[in-house]
């Protein structure tokens, strides 16, 4: 019975695809509304070079924004954990940013940084900085009191405590944020391109083909975006596994 459970996800995928094909066929759904999976795959292979170029363009924005945003978030969290004054200043903004649709700033980014990659990177940085900052800071400050007592019994300096206890302790929480940011990065890049960008970007491609009812091209581009998003996510997961060999398998997430 355990065997069956393992194959469940794959079974559902296959069933889902078949269902999709079936519905399109049975209801004779117009191709411009909902193309059948095989049509999408066909379109994918036809427009391959264009999609690869657009995909790389957008993916670069996501990666660069991610590196800058998360890197900045981690550094800021380290600074905040050492200096309560710094934390008091930055934290309210970090919390507030969770309630603001940052995407709305995309047009502004275009005004400031131009219509090329710079503006999209800026948006991704903004989207990834705050969650990373909040999570890493929480990890750095959530060391148990007993652990701190232990350190004091060894007459450890603040720096030693930071390096040997707080930092390693914050790694799991940091990676939880990084995984979420990996997906946010791709979404941010694509969606900010909806607001305006060069033709050779995924977001613009999706938007324009969709509005022209060239749905199978749009879907194949969406597929590429999804694939890149997943790729990015699993890359981060891989790095996480390498960084935390001591983290044993938990039953969930």
């Amino acid at each position: 019975m355990g065997r069956v459970r393992e194959y469940a996800p794959a079974a559902v995928l296959v069933m889902g695809l078949l269902l999709w094909e079936g519905i399109v066929f049975a209801f004779s759904i117009e191709f411009y509304l909902l193309p059948a999976p095989h049509v999408i795959v066909q379109s994918l292979s036809e427009t391959y070079p264009v999609l690869v170029e657009a995909g790389l363009y957008t993916f670069t924005e996501a990666v660069l924004g991610f590196v800058l945003g998360c890197g900045g978030g981690i550094l800021a969290a380290m600074a905040a954990s050492r200096s309560p004054a710094f934390a008091a200043v930055v934290l309210p903004y970090a919390v507030a940013s969770a309630s603001v649709p940052i995407i709305a700033l995309a047009p502004l980014a275009i005004v400031w940084f131009g219509v090329e990659q710079g503006s999209k990177i800026a948006i991704v940085v903004l989207m990834t900085f705050f969650p990373t900052f909040v999570s890493t800071l929480r990890g750095l400050s959530s060391v148990t009191p007993q652990s701190l007592e232990l350190m004091r019994s060894y007459a450890a300096t603040e720096q030693q405590i930071f390096l040997k206890v707080r930092l390693p302790h914050s790694v799991p929480m940091m990676f939880t944020a990084l995984r979420a940011c990996a997906t946010l990065a791709m979404i941010g890049a694509v969606v900010s391109e909806f607001f305006g960008g060069p033709v050779k970007s995924l977001g613009v491609y999706i938007k324009s083909t969709a509005s022209l009812f060239q749905t199978r091209q749009a879907w194949s581009a969406i597929l590429v975006a999804c694939a890149l998003g997943l790729l990015f996510y699993f890359a981060v997961v891989l790095i996480e596994r390498l960084a935390m060999p001591w983290h044993f398998e938990r039953s969930e997430d």
């Binding site: 938007k207 509005s211 999804c226």
Partner: protein, 251 residues
């Protein structure tokens, strides 16, 4: 905090000698609200109307998505097979640029408020499903054993134990979804053809930025306010309902 922002704003403007093109004065943005639009109405009114439109789309989407997510999570809690089969996709789809599908949804469902609400619902139900599933599963085994010892029926166990202990998880997801549904609604208004909503206002303002920069800033400000308002509304409800939980927001 608002004072701090205002201070930094004007300081940046003088320090870096930013032209109004890049960073308008705060009073210029305020003045934009009092300007008259093409139809003779005050921009304040225009903005409010569109804001209301977007807010409504988000709210409907939020409600739809929340209910769907809840139902799914409960279904998962009851059927391990269903959970094993679908949960990986639910989780994996969080890693996918869902918003990239927004143009497609508008193509399918037309440019009315409905497509935007669906997008908002789509963004809402994923975090709700995942978090609620986790919450329903994370019941203290001892508490469960107690229920069994008291010969409680599965229904009773659900309503008196599983559901209440899963509520903090639910609200954590709802807070995220509050902002997400606003984003979803706005993004849904971007593709060609929509006529109402903040997304439309933003796109138009962006197009005419060179003539009236303050307009875009005003539009963004209003969008931000919608997001913040929605978030805090959910947080307020959370504080009332789940006051006993440690994860409820402090502010």
């Amino acid at each position: 905090m608002l004072v701090a922002i205002a201070a930094v704003w004007e300081a940046a403007k003088t320090l870096f000698a930013l032209p109004s093109y890049q960073l308008p004065h705060l009073h210029e943005i305020a003045a934009d609200f009092l300007r008259e639009g093409a139809g003779g109405e005050l921009w304040l009114w225009i903005m409010t109307q569109n804001a209301g439109y977007t807010a409504l789309e988000s709210l409907i989407g939020f409600a739809l998505g929340g209910v769907t997510g809840l139902v799914l999570a409960i279904a998962f809690a009851h059927s391990r097979w269903l959970e094993r089969g679908l949960l990986p996709y639910v989780v994996a789809s969080q890693t996918v640029p869902i918003l990239a599908i927004a143009p497609m949804v508008v193509v399918w469902l037309g440019t009315s408020w409905f497509s935007k609400a669906v997008i908002a619902a789509y963004l809402t139900f994923f975090p709700v499903t995942v978090n609620m599933s986790r919450g329903l599963r994370a019941v203290d085994p001892d508490a469960l054993a107690l229920m069994r010892a008291l010969a409680a029926s599965p229904r009773q166990i659900f309503f008196k134990l599983r559901f209440p202990s899963a509520l903090p998880y639910l609200f954590t997801a709802l807070r995220i979804s509050a902002t997400a549904s606003v984003i979803g609604a706005i993004v849904g208004e971007l593709p060609v053809g929509s006529r109402f909503g903040m997304g439309v206002v933003i796109i138009n303002a962006a197009q005419y930025y060179n003539w009236r920069p303050a307009n875009l800033w005003a539009a963004i400000l209003v969008s931000a306010v919608i997001g913040i308002g929605f978030y805090h509304a959910v947080a307020a409800v959370e504080r009332r309902v789940v006051s006993w939980s440690r994860t409820a927001p402090a502010v």
